[in-house]
């Protein structure tokens, strides 16, 4: 055996040597400092550029249905190239790649110039990307080269400035901006209006009203599953209910703000009352036994088919489900109702709201190997100019949009009535971004270009009755942490996520009696929840700076 062992080790060491040689990768193209060879200090840079430059543009492009292969083939970018005189070399990642294409390129030290990504799948995220020198901070360039975005920053110091800057106050990528929020609350509860009428009931206001209504739905309207929802701790529907109790649960690790204090929903004493109500509903069949496995498709089906009478939806889904329901039963009516409260006169301020600025899509950032930083910043800024906003939101005049009689912009027939029945968002991909991702301001006419149905208007009204109070008492927990803090936090919170999810279901279904609630709280303490809360509190303070 030892002879063979010697041989094996010989072979292995040769293999290791080869592999070490193979491990030598191409050295990085550049260091951290962006070289700005094109800076001509006196000439004012403007679009279209006098001298054409080429920029390597990385993006995840997904419009396979349109037959297009990458951004370069869209009318949007063809027009952008015309207007800016920048030639883009497109590097495309397929949508199925789960974020790995960017990681792989970076591993091979192949860094593009402009990156349309938020580094969500990069270890350490965008902060690490900056720390390692992959991308640069834009702060110093904003005033001179991104005047339009800069203006927005000054107008919305908190909603844009604080929202998108890193813990060090740096701006790494520029957000998608929607300043014209016609509706603040974008998701809420809707019930069968026709059933309410037939039963002679008013829209439910308090939790007790809800109980009575759901019971009536079950017993008198034959609703097998009165509540259409997936029974899970982060359920949107139940988030509206827990809001009545003054806590936030619409998240797998639900932290929220009470004034200036960070709190954790499932750790609050009143969580027990909330669970008690749910348990009652569950044991009386108002929440179905199968709901832990439910899907959105199932819930919508149940609601449309009359197996459920209440559902949590987006404002626009009101229209869609209403149409579907009417096909089955002409008297079908979808009625959005306000978030429930405990007692009359209370206010439920835990609304599901939209944001003015968002980095959660794929926003643009500039890499450290970019040799034309100034021009690139200008390019990023273009989306916030009036013309840029039109281009990104609506596309090409005459092709994807036109001006209507009131001078407002609307979509053309080509987009809205595709001969192959493709959804409009897909057709629009050829010409514009619409209301999806990128670094631009959504054009104000965009909302109006969609037909607002009666149900949608109703939902705006019903769900926003306490909007003003909400704005004064914002309760969504803001957070900015350093890498180390984040690592610590993740270590603690990961098992807690599993624990609270399990216990939630066990308490509601009765598998675990609520008399054990104190043990549950103690277990959370043992799992160091208070440390986690402290870390989040710290994160909040750091955000405020």
């Amino acid at each position: 055996m030892s002879k063979k062992l010697k041989l094996i080790s010989l072979v292995l060491s040769v293999a290791v040597m080869i592999s070490l040689l193979g491990g030598c990768v191409v050295p990085a193209q550049n260091s951290n400092q962006p070289s700005d060879l094109s800076s001509t200090t006196d000439e004012k840079l403007a679009f279209p550029l006098k001298e054409q430059i080429t920029l390597r543009y990385f993006a995840t492009f997904g419009a396979t249905g349109t037959g297009l292969n990458n951004n370069g083939e869209t009318e949007l970018f063809k027009e952008l190239e015309r207007r800016t005189n920048i030639k883009f070399e497109h590097i495309n990642a397929p949508t199925a790649d789960e974020g790995q294409t960017l990681n792989l390129m970076l591993a091979a030290r192949d860094v593009p110039d402009i990156i349309e990504d938020n580094f969500g799948k990069y270890p350490g995220g965008i902060n690490k990307a900056k720390a390692e020198g992959i991308i640069i901070a834009l702060n110093d360039y904003l005033e001179e080269y991104a005047p339009n975005f800069n203006k927005l920053l000054k107008e919305y110091p908190e909603d844009i400035g604080k929202e998108i800057s890193t813990v060090n106050g740096e701006y790494l990528n520029l957000p998608y901006v929607n300043t014209d929020l016609q509706v603040l609350t974008i998701r809420g509860l809707s019930v069968r209006g026709d059933w309410l009428d037939e039963l002679g009931m008013d829209a439910p206001v308090t939790i007790d009203d809800w109980y009575k209504m759901l019971t009536a739905f079950k017993e008198q309207k034959g609703a097998e599953r009165p509540l259409a929802l997936k029974l899970e701790i982060q359920s949107g529907f139940l988030g509206c209910i827990s809001g009545a109790y003054g806590i936030f649960t619409r998240n797998k690790a639900p932290f929220y703000l009470d004034g200036d204090t960070i709190k954790f929903g499932p750790y609050e004493a009143v969580y027990k009352d909330y669970l008690q109500t749910l348990h009652k509903w569950y044991s009386e069949g108002l929440i179905s036994k199968d709901s832990p496995m439910s899907t959105v498709a199932q819930q919508e089906a149940d609601f449309v088919n009359g197996k459920s009478g209440a559902i949590e939806v987006s404002a626009v889904a009101n229209t869609r489900l209403s149409l579907q329901g009417k096909e089955l039963k002409p008297t079908f009516q979808m009625r959005p109702v306000p978030y429930p409260v405990l007692k009359e006169g209370d206010k439920n301020l835990f609304l599901y709201t939209g944001k003015i600025s968002s980095l959660s899509g794929k926003c643009l950032c500039i890499s450290s190997t970019n040799k034309h930083v100034k021009e690139s910043v200008m390019f990023l800024d273009y989306g916030y100019t009036p013309e840029g906003s039109v281009l990104y939101s609506f596309g090409i005049e005459g092709e994807s949009y036109q001006k209507n009689a009131d001078g407002k912009l609307e979509f053309t027939d080509k987009v809205v009535n595709d001969p192959d029945d493709r959804p409009y968002t897909e057709v629009l991909m050829k010409y514009a971004r619409g209301s999806s991702w990128g670094s631009y301001t959504l054009h104000p006419d965009f909302g109006a270009a969609m037909s607002l149905s009666e149900e949608q208007r109703e939902s705006n009204r019903a769900w926003n009755i306490h909007a003003e109070d909400y704005i004064k008492n914002k309760n969504s927990a803001k957070n900015k942490m350093t890498d180390d803090q984040n690592a610590q936090y993740t270590d603690i919170i990961t098992p807690i996520r599993t624990y609270i999810a399990e216990m939630f279901l066990k308490f509601v279904s009765g598998q675990e009696p609520l008399s054990n609630f104190d043990q549950y709280i103690q277990k959370l303490k043992d799992m160091r929840i208070e440390e986690a809360i402290l870390l989040r509190q710290l994160g909040y303070y750091q955000y405020l700076q």
Binding site: G23, I134, M293, I493, T498, A501, M527
Partner: protein, 323 residues
């Protein structure tokens, strides 16, 4: 006296051990004998070196806080921290136990199923019927896991078809996917349903290679159907069964997360949450290559030990083994 001496000498000569050959001498002998084989082996070995061993240098990321841009050599060294995180997790025991138990069920029920199917199919005389059965039973293998689990969740729901049938038969409804008690059975059972046809193919092929002459000889010897089965069919595919078994044991601590995630929910975490599904949920919050690599490595070490154990036992018990 002369005789005695020569006798002693012969005996001594017989008892002398054979002259020991050094490794190099063995290699040279083999080279002469098997020149062509060595030539043939080169592309195969090259393949594994290039595509498997060269990338293996990446394993070292388990000791690092790996960042793609910094590269493997420049990423920060953190030693055993990834392993510490994994081993100090509160749920460690549960996810390990669940991984093992699900694999055990699969071994006991799932491993024999395709063999039994192949053996049963083998006994069917109409080759047309056999062909039809084979073609149909392997179809579920091609349906994507997402769709299959959608069907499973639908059928096994508390208000689903199977429970409807039960209640017609006056049997109480069973919360198949809502009670940890039943999860393993549903998971493994549906796995057999979807995979038994496809997995039986290899045994069908092994069966068809059993020498017909052996059957004829057995029949001549007066063996009936059962006897032929025991003494010709079974031994004929036993080597294949043993190898597959060894390989299967070498996967005892591995269970993919996709099907688990599609079929579990927090109520069944107690028996359903396995290593891969737990790590997957963790990975949703952090894109941590090093951590998942560390968990994967630990898993692999356990698995390969099991493989070595199984192989050694097999070698001692019968002639069939991987090496």
């Amino acid at each position: 006296m002369n005789n005695n001496t020569s006798q002693v000498m012969t005996t001594k000569a017989e008892k002398l051990p054979a002259k020991k050959t050094t490794v190099w001498q063995e290699i040279r002998k083999d080279f002469v004998l098997n020149k062509v084989l060595i030539l043939m082996a080169i592309p195969v070995v090259l393949y594994y070196i290039i595509f498997d061993y060269l990338p293996m240098f990446g394993i070292v990321i388990v000791f690092k806080d790996y960042s793609p841009f910094m590269g493997i050599t420049n990423s920060k060294w953190i030693g055993l921290r990834n392993f510490q995180r994994f081993f100090s997790d509160i749920y460690l025991f549960r996810i390990v136990r669940n991984t093992f138990m699900i694999n055990l069920y699969q071994l006991i029920f799932g491993f024999p199923a395709p063999i039994i199917l192949a053996l049963l199919l083998n006994e069917i005389r109409s080759s047309k019927f056999k062909r039809i059965v084979q073609t149909i039973t392997y179809m579920p293998h091609f349906i994507s896991m997402v769709v299959l689990c959608g069907i499973i969740a639908n059928f096994f729901a508390y208000g689903g078809l199977i429970n409807d049938i039960l209640s017609i038969l006056s049997i109480e409804r069973v919360p198949f996917l809502l009670d940890p008690k039943y999860f393993r059975s549903v998971y493994v059972g549906t796995g057999i349903w979807a995979g038994v046809g496809w997995s039986s193919i290899i045994y069908m092929s092994a069966l068809s290679r059993v020498d017909q002459a052996l059957y004829e000889a057995a029949e001549i010897d007066g063996a009936g159907r059962w006897r032929q089965f025991i003494s010709v069919t079974l031994p004929g595919i036993m080597p294949m069964i043993v190898i597959m078994l060894i390989l299967r044991i070498g996967k005892m601590m591995a269970e993919g997360s996709q099907k688990i995630i599609l079929l579990y929910n927090p109520l069944t975490y107690e028996t359903a949450d396995v290593i891969s599904s737990y790590v997957y949920r963790r990975g949703m919050q952090e894109a941590n290559f090093s951590y998942s690599a560390a968990v994967g490595l630990t898993n692999s070490l356990v698995n390969v030990s099991l493989l070595v154990l199984a192989n050694t036992v097999s070698r001692k018990v019968n002639e069939t083994s991987l090496w």
